[in-house]
Subunit: 219 residues, 2 copies
DNA sequence: AATTATATTTAGGCATCCCTAAATAAATGT
DNA sequence: ACATTTATTTAGGGATGCCTAAATATAATT
């Protein structure tokens, strides 16, 4: 049996790896889970015992085949539940993360798959993140970070890479939504902030913000 | 903060009390939660510390006002989730208990109330048990145990008092459902088993079964 | 290459929740 | 009333998961 804590560690390792594509460090995990690096070292050893991760002291961690399978299941549940909360229960996209953080640990294959069916097999969660399929496949998307495209680029907002409610509420306030069409009018060299056209309004947003928005380039 | 284990203890105390109307004994709790009486004694002391129960050594436990409030919230969530699983996700009534046992611990007032709304404010769960309201009120129902009514009684099945899947599957097989109309044709004195008319069929059921079925008497 | 700074692991401890065995209180039978 | 059975609590201990402080390995600087 796998415990709730172990599940959170596996998911954290997966998320970090999906972002950085690298072996995952103890410190990174501690950062994500808000625990001490010492606790992480301890837990990693337990996960290694269970063959859920590959681990070499001082070198970092990666998920084993079975560890990755479990992590993908949890991520799938997290994103399905977020979709449920927004699409069926009228939550806003900034309110769902903490609740999904709890719901993702409910153990019932049948529940997950029935939920998937009930939601009509969604491909993306309310933040534009892809939902792993029943077989653990994450459909690859060709999206780029808004912070990395040049001036005059036109694009469609496809997703965000953090669930922090302050961030999401700010986007809502700016009227930035999944699917919104935007154009980069200017990039300030000094702080890399951007002047963005959205609808008939123009907004100035910082690099901290552009760094967390994924777009699909059009035209 | 209240832990998952503490929640399960509170709910167990409430359920036992709702059935027996008495002070609750250590042994009864241990029975329901499948733990040792020693563990129960320990936990009760902790709950007393937190003013969630009233307790006198060797005399038994009862819920305090705040303990009862919490317990009712958990019971409310349990029954709302069971209703969700049956009404929206097409689970059968015999499959939902274990999943609801997990879902009931998800902490979000907003989720509970949105779910209630989404389900159209149901009054009873799939087993016919009343769902406590937002304010913790259980609507009183005038139902009787099938095992306690005399011969020739006609009634409608209103609920069951156990969620065990073997029992529920057996009822389904007999075509006994919430709302079914039945008539007691005969009561065998020797073992108190009953011959029951349901639709145009006649079924013989044991006292163990009639003891777990609630009916409303008609005519 | 040696020194310093940073990352990681180990040591020792604490809280929670569970257990079995032993002690004690309450209930029951004679 | 006394002895026995049953219910409950206490004692002692194990597993999990977290922490801080200390030790050690690795990376960065000079
Ligand atoms: Mn989680
Ligand atoms: Mn998310
Ligand atoms: Mn439970
Ligand atoms: Mn139930």
């Amino acid at each position: 049996m796998i415990t709730l804590s172990e599940e959170n560690y596996l998911k954290a390792i997966l998320s970090i790896n999906l972002e950085t594509k690298n072996i995952v460090s103890t410190n990174e995990i501690a950062g994500v889970l808000n625990t001490s690096p010492a606790s992480v070292s301890e837990m990693i050893k337990k996960l290694e015992e269970k063959n859920l991760v590959n681990y070499e002291k001082y070198k970092g961690v990666s998920l084993s085949k079975s560890g990755e399978k479990l992590a993908l299941e949890i991520l799938r549940k997290h994103r399905l539940w977020e979709t449920f909360l927004v699409n069926k229960l009228e939550f806003s996209w900034s309110e769902v993360h903490d609740v999904a953080e709890q719901l993702e640990h409910v153990k019932s294959k049948k529940l997950t798959n029935k939920l998937d069916h009930f939601l009509n097999y969604p491909k993306f969660d309310p933040h534009g993140e892809p939902i792993p399929s029943k077989n653990g496949i994450i459909s690859p998307t060709k999206r780029v970070l808004l912070s990395e495209v040049p001036i005059k680029t036109k694009g469609i907002i496809m997703g965000v890479s953090t669930d922090e409610s302050e961030f999401l509420d700010y986007l809502t306030q700016l009227n930035f939504k999944i699917g919104s069409k935007i154009k980069i009018l200017d990039i300030i060299l000094f702080d890399k902030s951007m002047k963005i056209q959205i609808g008939d309004k123009i907004e100035q947003i910082s690099e901290e913000v552009t760094n967390n928005i994924h777009i699909k380039i059009i035209e």
